[in-house]
């Protein structure tokens, strides 16, 4: 058995050090972190990919990348405070160092989208990975045709990236719709789950690509709505959350039937997922 292991491979589990250069509170539970690699390099990701974030001594957690690849010199991770690593991350201040491995996984397709109509269905923090793609698309607006963005939050307090939402809403070349499951006195907009927005727009199923990312419970319903609009399975794209420990297809935790979310995903077409009984 001989198999030379290159320097790059030697570092499979070695994180690159990155410095926290900006923190922004998104909601009570969510923050946006901007990092720059200490070695000055780029992350070089595709929208939809994720990184493993190390807080040395605490652990590592998979986090999807929220910034567009068009953003240079740094990258952004939006994080909900939920486990050990994310809780520790939320305590960090500007200047702190973390470790980054990745980018990992299969991101959203880019080339096949050129000239297409795009539908984004973002449920809550499902916007975290989709924001990367949306901003990429908007940064290259001319390459794409019609763009529809749906965003749904549980309540007005849980709306994330409100500045982006406002910017998208203000754009002439984007059809933006928003809803909350439960409103409050500050909310004058649409109330209802995200699927209640579907009757309010039309798509051309022949040339539309739909991106659906949200909490596990959302997929079944949102996909059903997309199917009602005659979208073929290959044109419905989702991103799935799983436990990812190694990020490189070894540890086995993220398996969805025979597929590895960290290698074959986290982005899947509905056509692929239909054969994965554990996916939805």
């Amino acid at each position: 058995m001989t198999m030379a292991v290159s320097t790059k491979e030697e570092a499979l589990y070695l994180p690159r050090l990155a410095e926290l250069i900006k923190v922004e509170q998104l909601t009570e539970r969510e923050k946006l972190f901007e990092f720059a690699f200490k070695d000055g390099g780029e992350l070089g990701h595709q929208p939809g990919q994720f990184v493993e974030v190390s807080l040395f001594g605490i652990g590592e957690a998979p986090i999807s990348i929220s910034s567009s690849p068009t953003k240079k010199g740094s990258f952004e991770l939006a994080v909900r405070r939920i486990g050990n690593v994310t809780t520790a991350l939320h305590q960090l201040v500007k200047g702190a160092a973390v470790g980054i491995r990745g980018p990992f996984g299969r991101g959203f397709p880019i080339e096949p989208l050129k000239g297409k109509d795009l539908l984004f269905v973002c449920g809550g923090i499902g916007l975290f990975p989709l924001r990367s793609l949306i901003n990429y698309v908007l940064d290259n607006r001319n390459s794409f045709n019609k763009i529809i963005i749906l965003f749904g939050a549980r309540n007005p307090k849980e709306r994330v990236f409100v500045d982006d939402l406002a910017r998208w809403a203000a754009r002439e070349d984007v059809q933006f719709m928003e809803t909350v499951d439960v409103g409050d006195e500050t909310w004058a907009g649409h109330v209802g789950v995200i699927t209640t927005l579907f009757p309010d727009f039309e798509i051309d199923p022949g040339k539309t690509m739909a991106f659906i990312v949200g909490p596990p419970v959302m997929y079944r319903f949102a996909i059903a709505e997309a199917k009602k609009k005659q979208l073929p399975d290959e044109q419905i794209i989702i991103s799935l959350e799983r436990k990812m420990k190694c990020g490189v297809g070894k540890c086995g935790h993220c398996q969805i039937n025979g597929a590895y979310a960290c290698q074959d995903g986290p982005v899947f077409t509905y056509a692929e997922v239909k054969n994965l009984r554990e996916a939805l």
Binding site: G99, C246, G249
Partner: protein, 342 residues
């Protein structure tokens, strides 16, 4: 490559020489069973064993292995730990050799795993044909009773001597340097074949369907009530996967010194049968029910590994059958029941 023959008393001398080279892991007795363990003299070695409690996978994927160390004092420093000890593993049965080949595939696909391959490269594998199969083994029916590759040397007991098949240049060199052998004659080789053929007839269990039919058998029975029935008894104890030579899932954890200034990241064996295996930080458990975890194990062995790596995920060693107190881990029984019911 050509084969050699070594007399049994010469094998002891060979092992003595190997012990002088460095660490030798062999099969020894423990509590009436057999285990792989470091040996100190040829006398401790058992080469006519049926099966070991654990496979030799721990020598490539240790139960717990630190792979990153870090300092947190002022500036954070982190560096990988990938060193490996040179080691000869002696007495590996063909089914375990096949399992190592599968591990090679898992750890090389897409992203070669440095920790695995450092150990793999530092190891010399001397196999031995299994002539006294365990009553729970079904290797002959899944093509793992013999091995043509995956070893540096492979011994076959032909009475007063062993036929030594040479599987690599490394094996050949080892033999030339440290053992007194002679060239194997056709007669020797045929004795070896006879021994293997006789052994093949000793298997008490056999898989009820051929290897290539297993993925379909499973796929057609994804929703079979058997999974729930077996889950009623399943302890979710992970024993079947711990003893499995092809189960390679691991968890990753962190340990720090009390001073919180240094620490290491390590991986340790994990099992898809355990309740928290697919549970994420939000509390969502993607395989919450025992039946789904139990089913996943069978699918991973019977279908997913073949599809992903082109190598069967079950080598028929029968360790899971022995380890499962609830008596539900047997691929032979489960496939039979699925077949009967489909």
């Amino acid at each position: 490559m050509h084969s050699q023959v070594i007399a049994k008393q010469e094998l002891a001398a060979f092992v003595e020489n190997l012990l002088r080279q460095g660490e030798v892991v062999g099969v020894r007795r423990k509590d009436g069973k057999y285990v792989f363990d470091k040996i100190g003299s040829p006398g401790e070695l058992c080469l006519d064993y049926d099966v070991t409690v654990l496979s030799p996978k721990e020598y490539f994927l240790p139960q717990r292995e630190a792979f990153l160390k870090f300092e947190l004092a002022e500036a954070i420093k982190a560096e990988p730990i990938t060193q490996a000890q040179r080691r000869i593993i002696l007495g590996v049965h063909p089914y375990d050799i096949k399992a190592i080949q599968l591990m090679d595939a898992v750890f090389s696909k897409d992203n070669p795993d440095p920790n695995y391959f450092r150990k793999r490269e530092a190891a010399t594998i001397i196999g031995v044909d299994c002539l006294n199969p365990s009553p729970h083994a079904f290797c002959a029916s899944v093509g793992t009773a013999t091995a043509e590759s995956g070893f540096d040397l492979l011994l076959t007991d032909i009475g007063a001597e062993y036929v030594v098949a040479i599987g690599s240049a490394k094996g050949e060199e080892l033999l030339q340097k440290h053992a007194k052998t002679r060239d194997a004659s056709d007669g020797d080789l045929s004795k070896g074949k006879t021994a293997r053929d006789e052994a093949a007839r000793k298997y008490q269990l056999s898989a009820p369907v051929s290897l290539d039919q297993i993925p379909r058998l499973l796929e057609e029975n994804y929703d079979h009530p058997l999974w729930e029935e077996l889950a009623q008894k399943c302890l979710s104890c992970g024993s079947c996967t711990m003893v499995c030579p092809t189960c390679v899932c691991f968890d990753v954890q962190e340990d720090v010194a009390l001073t919180l200034t240094t620490g290491e990241r390590y991986r340790q064996w994990d099992s898809c049968l355990l309740e928290d295996f697919a549970k994420v930080a939000t509390g969502e458990n993607f395989r919450q029910h025992r039946s789904t975890r139990l089913r996943h194990r069978y699918f991973r062995k019977g279908k997913y590994m073949m599809e992903r790596f082109g190598i069967q995920g079950c080598v028929g060693c029968g360790r899971c059958i022995t380890a499962c107190l609830a008596e539900i881990a047997s691929p032979v029984d489960t496939y039979s029941r699925l077949k009967g019911g489909s």
